[in-house]
């Protein structure tokens, strides 16, 4: 034991040195002293989303699909509508969408599922990517209505398989919602030119004849599936008649040449 004493002392010294190195680096930060980054991303993930109705009725809800979308005043944060990515769907926009490998498949499925209406909105932070670095996020919300529940069931199964099979996509397991739901996460790139990792979350659900997709895009330090699920709960409450479902003002507002509203 005494023969090993110098070794033990050396080992203890090395451990303390290692600890000192860690402490010095933590205290010294980037060793520049001055603030070379304008604001530190500290990350502040919100509480888990656990509300909403799991299971329950399977209604065939009325048109239009747009009235079940959350209004901008209902979406958290300082947002604006991205006009070019906000529109009422028609058969052409649906069949040529990301849901299908080609337009032919889209046409076949649209006929099989008997889609009757669709609406998409993109809410973006007013401060765009810079606001994303401070916890803001983009929300793409899609609502699809089918003639009956069977068509919606088949469409939901197709869409959840499609999203779940995207390379790099991970399945999330938040509390379920509505008649059926699924949640996914995809980490991809960074936010703008920053070093902050960007992440997509998508929450899908079906309520009766409606299939809904809510996708958020934000900075990984801030984002969980919960922001997307909270928006989904809002939509489900509208589909259930538990929350006012107001048809949004069409964007862009049509202009009729020659008519002066003043």
């Amino acid at each position: 034991m005494r023969r090993n004493q110098p070794l033990l002392i050396l080992a203890a010294g090395l451990v303390l040195i290692a600890m000192a190195v860690v402490v010095i680096f933590l205290v010294a930060g980037n060793n520049g002293g001055g603030p070379d980054v304008s604001k530190t991303v500290d990350g502040n993930k919100g509480p888990a989303s656990t509300g909403g109705t799991l299971g329950g009725p399977e209604p065939v809800v009325d048109l239009p699909a747009s009235k079940y979308i959350p209004l901008i005043s209902e979406v958290p944060g300082h947002n604006e509508v991205n006009v070019s990515d906000t529109f009422t769907m028609n058969i052409s926009t649906f069949t040529s969408s990301y849901w299908f490998i080609n337009d032919r498949e889209g046409q076949d499925k649209a006929r099989e599922w008997k889609i009757v209406d669709g609406y998409q909105v993109l809410y973006q932070p007013v401060g765009l990517s810079a606001q994303v670095l401070q916890g803001g996020y983009y929300s793409t919300i899609e609502t699809y209505l089918f003639a009956d529940v069977q068509g919606a069931k088949a469409a939901f199964a197709h869409l959840s398989d499609k999203i779940g099979s995207l390379p790099g996509t991970e399945k999330e397991k938040p509390r379920g919602l509505a008649n059926e739901s699924a949640a996914y996460r995809l980490v991809q790139g960074t936010v703008g030119t920053s070093d902050v990792v960007a992440v997509y979350h998508r929450f899908l659900f079906r309520r009766g004849n409606a299939v809904v997709s809510v996708q958020t895009y934000g900075g990984d330090p801030f984002m969980t599936i919960d922001q997307a699920r909270e928006l989904a709960v809002m939509i489900d409450d509208k589909l259930l008649g538990q929350r006012p479902a107001t048809e949004p003002t069409p964007i862009p507002t049509p202009a009729i040449i020659g008519v002066d509203t003043n």
Binding site: G13, L16, N31, G192
Partner: protein, 252 residues
């Protein structure tokens, strides 16, 4: 047992001064209150002992739009040639008389200021782009440039800007940052970075404005390095085509 602990602690304290000596190589604000970075800072540097006496006009040591790459727009109203008459009455000096006195004392030869906006302007800035302003001031000799640089640094500091560490540019340099206002209609803060450097009888000031979260001092320093390469003859120094006859005194 106490002896073992003492030995271990000794080993610890021996390494602390060594790390502390290395830790300041970024030019910590506390160690360098003027913001002037110490030689040996991280990152590429043009810093050298060469202190040339450069000839005019000052505009040829500025940064051209082609030096920045694509997607930039020249800020024409912010582009002008400076001399004692039109520079002295600007807000850089407490009065026109004071400006004239100092510029004459420093042997002011000529100056040039220009600015560049990113295509997309505030929208692009909120996605990581930034605005640039570049000032180039040429003096009769190194002594005048040194005095002017000290004065310009004091003016920048008087705005409330904080020193920030950055690798040295030119014979001497300093860098500052400030947060002021917001970008466009957003609530995102606007962040400014200044890099000021002297090379011989030339003083150059680079200012960037971008969105909080995206901006560091690096873009301003990289632009300053381009100007320094021109002063050193490492990059062609071409007099730009005049773009404006704007008189700064009228707008400043």
């Amino acid at each position: 047992m106490p002896r073992r602990l003492l030995l271990a602690l000794c080993a610890c304290f021996l390494i602390v001064p060594a790390l502390a000596a290395c830790g300041g190589d970024g030019g910590a604000a506390g160690a360098s209150p003027t913001g002037t970075s110490a030689p040996g800072d991280a990152g590429p540097s043009n810093s050298s002992g060469s202190s040339p006496k450069l000839d005019g006009p000052a505009s040829k040591y500025s940064v051209a739009i082609t030096d920045l790459g694509v997607n930039w727009i020249t800020d024409i109203p912010a582009t002008y040639v400076l001399n004692i008459d039109n520079y002295a009455p600007t807000r850089s000096f407490s009065s026109a008389e004071e400006g004239r006195r100092l510029l004459t004392e420093w042997g002011y030869q000529s100056g040039y200021e220009t600015g560049y906006s990113p295509e997309g302007r505030d929208t692009a800035v909120l996605n990581g782009a930034f605005y640039v302003r570049v000032e180039s001031h040429l003096f009769a000799n190194e002594a005048g440039a040194k005095a002017a640089m000290a004065y310009f640094e004091s003016i920048i500091k008087s705005t409330g800007a904080s020193p920030v560490s950055a690798g040295t540019v030119g014979n001497e340099s300093a860098a500052f940052t400030a947060t002021f206002g917001t970008i466009g209609k957003s609530k995102v803060n606007a962040v400014y970075h200044h890099v000021i450097f002297r090379r011989g009888n030339l003083v150059t000031v680079v200012l960037t404005k971008g969105a909080e979260g995206f901006m560091k001092v690096d873009p301003a320093r990289e632009i300053a390095l381009i100007a320094d390469q021109k002063a050193l003859g490492q990059k062609p120094a071409v007099e730009p085509t005049p773009t404006s006859n704007y008189t700064p005194a009228a707008g400043n």
